[in-house]
Subunit: 286 residues, 3 copies
């Protein structure tokens, strides 16, 4: 599942939901949790179901963020908020394997075990148990929520992201161990393109597949950051060709632009080519 | 328990102990461990008991740092160093749950299970098992000791603190999982206010409640760093008010100064208001 | 085992192998894995055995990097690649304790349980289980492989090394818990002395004993970085002397150049003196 971007809109904002498909995000999320006040949860569910269904019918990849497993809203969310044709659900504040067992049972009962499940790790407990949580069979992707995590820790968010490097790294590792893609934290300064792009580069370096987006303008930034540039792809292809020629000549190491290249760098290059190729580049490798 | 600062003095320095109360630290520590040479442990204990008792009687929150569980001094420290009216003990170099079991039994036997116990995590083993150690029922707070940790690792301390970010983050996480406050590492350059303030901001961002202090001048810096400024508190109150008004109007998301605000940022704001309020600000929220 | 440097050469490059001893690395590694193409594994083994044997006979500390446990080459590597007089083997891509059990059995059967075993942690799984892997009785040292790790994570390597700080820290911690030395990642930009020296300082701060080297010119840089300078050693000796005098006078804390010095800083100083002394400095302490 390719998830460079998941674009959120509040379930109580039909105006924003109707525009969710435009920026071309890899997935869109109608948010019945944080963005929907407690006294409007029923309205949010109705919007998610009808407007989400229209989006899905038009070919958009639609997710619904339900309220946390164990909240009083969760069962109704599963029963009433998920539209026909939805691709999946986003589950916030996942902390314990038993919650995921409950979720799997609820989806089973609703006849919706086909849905993708994006598990949010955004508390101390969620991060601490990231490995077992993301490895749960019901989970198909994950995300790290920096704002909620730091709220739970009683810490302070900073531009340096130093205070979340440990948790962000641990969630990326857990995603890899579970073989599910993980998405990186929101940038709440939604007009700050530089910060978004900087964070996206950090996230890609750590192994994240994409970023949560809370504004349509962030989607293109995410796709740019999580897709190799044509120059990167060309350099990677050249490196692979040079390495394969050297290998035929009996050498397992080559020097390219002052760098000693062997197996692991070739693996990295093949990955660049593969993800560039998914966008329709002429010669996809690896 | 509010612990923005714990101010240390050697148990063999009556002159410094007598002045421990002046800077208004949240707690003071008479140190029978590192700061007391082996041949003076008995003198240290006597000072801790008598001078500590006087401080406690004058309303100061007094702790004694005992020698590590398992050292030849530990039993005598528990029996003879803890003054009447002490608030707690600080236990260095905690590495194994069995040590905490031994400690709990020793306190029980001495009739002192009322004492707070601040557990020092400052070795590779202590950091590696931080989660189980801080969750032990005898523990009421913790600290991370960077100098001892790096000495044990065979590493080198630097101003960047990069070499301890992993351990510092892990101890903060363990504290949150155990619901006990944790205090951050000492700054041995005791006249370097800039370094102290920078480290304190890092520590607050990570979720630490305060810092260990080894000089009276560090106490005010710690309190400044771990208490929201009036401006921070005012901004947090305004954000909460704006959010609550928006919520009544049916929206779960607002925009404040270019930032998209929803649940987790409101939780962070409430925490700011709460800790500002504890200092007697006029309108405490949260 | 002192391992400030391990210098690699491809097993298919007799010209480079013959020069491996010159830079005076603490160990040299004939690489039958990444640097040897699949169709030349047998040639590589023969070179490792004969040329490695000559190096060992001339007093060089020789290691062979075998292919991973479980690959089709591994058994032949153990049987045919290890020269007379070899000091050890380097085992890449270690991920599970069962692989180390298999390795121990293979060494036993070959009558080579005397060999040192340097275990490479360079995948998500290897890093995730670093503590149990490095604690396995067959392992006598470890290394962290950043390029392979990031290739496995699907991430991107950067000069900041932020994307590997978590994994690098975790491997250093695991090494300390297991009481085995660990070596830090390769710098593939082999002419970039500044980057090598910067990374080596980071690694030493984290507790690493040395660095993998892929070019003869990196060995001297590694030794410089992982050996205290005469100035550092002299300052450490002075600090210890001053502290011991103060201790005799009844104080467990001294002030040296604006720093409050007690137990842990003295431990750090003794370690500096000890590692300086190993190079033949006149007055080795600690």
């Amino acid at each position: 599942m390719r998830l460079r971007s998941l674009l959120f809109a509040p379930a109580v904002r039909p105006d924003l939901i109707s525009k969710l498909g435009r920026p071309g995000a890899d997935g869109v999320v109608i948010d019945c949790e944080d963005a929907t006040p407690a006294h409007l949860k029923a309205d949010g569910r109705a919007n998610a179901r009808t407007l989400g269904g229209e989006l899905a019918a038009s070919g958009v990849s639609v997710f619904v963020r339900v309220n946390g497993v164990g909240t009083s809203w969760f069962d109704d969310d599963i029963a009433h908020a998920i539209p026909e044709g939805a691709r999946g659900i986003v589950v916030p504040m996942v902390e314990r394997p038993t919650q995921l067992g409950h979720l799997a049972a609820a989806l089973e009962q609703a006849g919706r075990r086909d849905l993708d499940v994006v598990a949010g790790l955004e508390t101390a407990s969620g991060v601490a148990d990231a490995r077992s949580l993301l490895s749960h069979p019901v989970v198909t992707a994950g995300y790290f929520g920096a704002e909620d995590f730091i709220a739970d820790m009683g810490g302070v968010r900073t531009r340096s992201n130093n205070e979340v490097l440990h948790a962000r790294s641990e969630v990326a590792l857990a995603g890899r161990l579970a073989s599910v893609p993980v998405l990186d934290q929101v940038v709440v300064e939604f007009r700050d393109a530089e910060r978004f792009t900087h964070e996206a580069a950090e996230a890609r370096a750590l192994g994240y597949a994409g970023k949560l987006c809370i504004h349509p303008g962030q989607v293109a930034l995410a796709h740019a950051a999580f897709t190799p540039t044509p120059e990167e792809a060309a350099a990677a292809r050249a490196l692979i060709a040079q390495y394969e020629a050297a290998e035929r000549d009996g050498s397992g190491v080559i020097v390219v632009e002052g760098r000693m290249i062997d197996g692991p760098l070739v693996v990295q290059a093949r990955r660049v080519v593969a993800s560039a190729g998914a966008d329709g580049a002429p010669e996809a490798g690896g």
